[in-house]
Amino acid sequence: MPTEKFVIPIGPQHPALKEPGHFEFNVDGEVVKAASVRLGYVHRGIEKGCETRNYVQAAYLVERICGICSHVHATAFSLGVERLADVEAPPRAQAIRQIVAELERIHSHLLWVGVAAHEAGFDTLFMYSWRDRETVMNLLEGITGNRVNYSANVLGGVKCDIGPEQAEVILEGLRFLEERTRHYLEVVSTDAVFLRRTRGIGVMTRDDAERLGVVGPTARASGVPRDVRVDAPYLLYREHPVELIVEQAGDLEARFKVRVRELFESFRVIRELLAALPDGDLTTRMPRRIKPAETVSRIEAPRGELFYFIKSNGSDTAERVKVRTPTLPNMASVVVTAVGHQLADVPMILAGIDPCFSCNDRMAVVRQGGEAEVWTWERLRQYGIEHYR
């Protein structure tokens, strides 16, 4: 006879996160005994959509996979398509891509510090970090003209330049942000009340992290030295490397520390790049049609490893675009680490991986063996209608 279970459903609309996801927690009193997650509320069919748009249009579409880390999506796609076409963006374009990517990391991590503090009920930190985040939003807007979805990339380069005056503004902004970040590091590592919510909560050992295949800051907080910027440098990360930030504890405190300490690396790299900004063109010629080939493009997004598989077929449209975003492997760790914790800690544990549902809602079909098959547009549409009925 099955034991009686009390299930608490959360979502898809819930006050904790701004995105839809559905969770079910089996609880015994206040303690979580089992957890399950249901995703897919934000599945829009972008991968299939890329197959009906040419490369230029698809670059615009993949940038809208995620509004928080839009630049890394566009960069990963551009790098992949450029590799297929045997084109390399000019050094200046690569440097500007890297600067925008690191500024985006600053914005994303500051955003996360605020949201995660909000889950802990520490709204003061939320408001402070979001106030300071507006500084980096201004910098991004100054460079690209947009606060979100910057569209800094074009295939074969970037569309925006950074002049000496702009560089001065960025350095000024970084000075302010660095001072504030030092304050945040102090808050997240010394504030006694906050530490009660983070120290020893949601512990994921290194073995667990390896087994679950988590990526990004979540893995680095568990002592796994895994960072695409270091392991497989792209853009100018070979010339201007970042230091790997690793914490051993694996709890929420370590995740806070990793992300805040990463900000200092971002500041340093941006300063280095601005000081040694290569001269030259911003774009290079890019063919419209690309010969049949396949490529894999990996990038370290603020949340972890972002993976793009792109297959071209000789036309101006991609044959297949496959995206694997960092939240997907990290989401599994929530279900495991939440078990045994108080229900009140669950929002913190969930926020601890920096989830981004709009990124990870992909469709996957798991089959054992057999021939490869292609799903047509009509079949996918019909499947969507029937599946979500």
Binding site: P12, Q13, H14, P15, K18, E19, P20, G40, Y41, V42, H43, R44, G45, I46, K48, G49, T52, Y60, L61, R64, I65, C66, G67, I68, S70, L111, G114, F126, M127, W130, R131, E134, M137, R147, V148, N149, C356, S358, W377, L380, R381, G384, I385, H387, Y388
Partner: protein
Amino acid sequence: MTLKLDQTWQAALDKLRTWARINSPWAIHFNSGSCNGCDIEILATLTPRYDVERFGIKLRGSPRHADVLICTGPVTRQARDRLVRIYEQMPEPKFVIAVGSCALSGGAFRGCYNIMGGIDQVIPVDAYVPGCPPRPEAIIDGVVKLLAKLQGHDTSPGPVVIGEPDANPALAPQPEQEEASA
């Protein structure tokens, strides 16, 4: 059961209700397939630089506490039923603001197999705020214009559309501006 009041009392009651409603509209936010870009801009309107809470606008966690539903994203098939359910849970009178290009028409995702293409395909919309994503100022403008409509300052028919020449005096044709200054 309905309470029948004479006309004067009913008018006074309506006035009081409008006053209460526009002074502190509580909002709920639902993401029905957005890329997050609009969501973080909505969140940015609540934080110190824009701080809509000084106007009494507050984001609530429960639809049952909310007057205004702020929607983002092209409605995905899976989120559609939830959106309708949230809309139905809100107490009358309720208003819907669609934020972002994809909430208006599907935007960049138009034609993807899993989307309905715009909030107004599913529930009635009272204000449209275009942009990918709209700036926080535009979102605040949308809320303010909607409130002006509730107050009766804006008597134009149909929903509020931000950025439309007729709806925005700053974008109005030149002669009108001269008349206003003269």
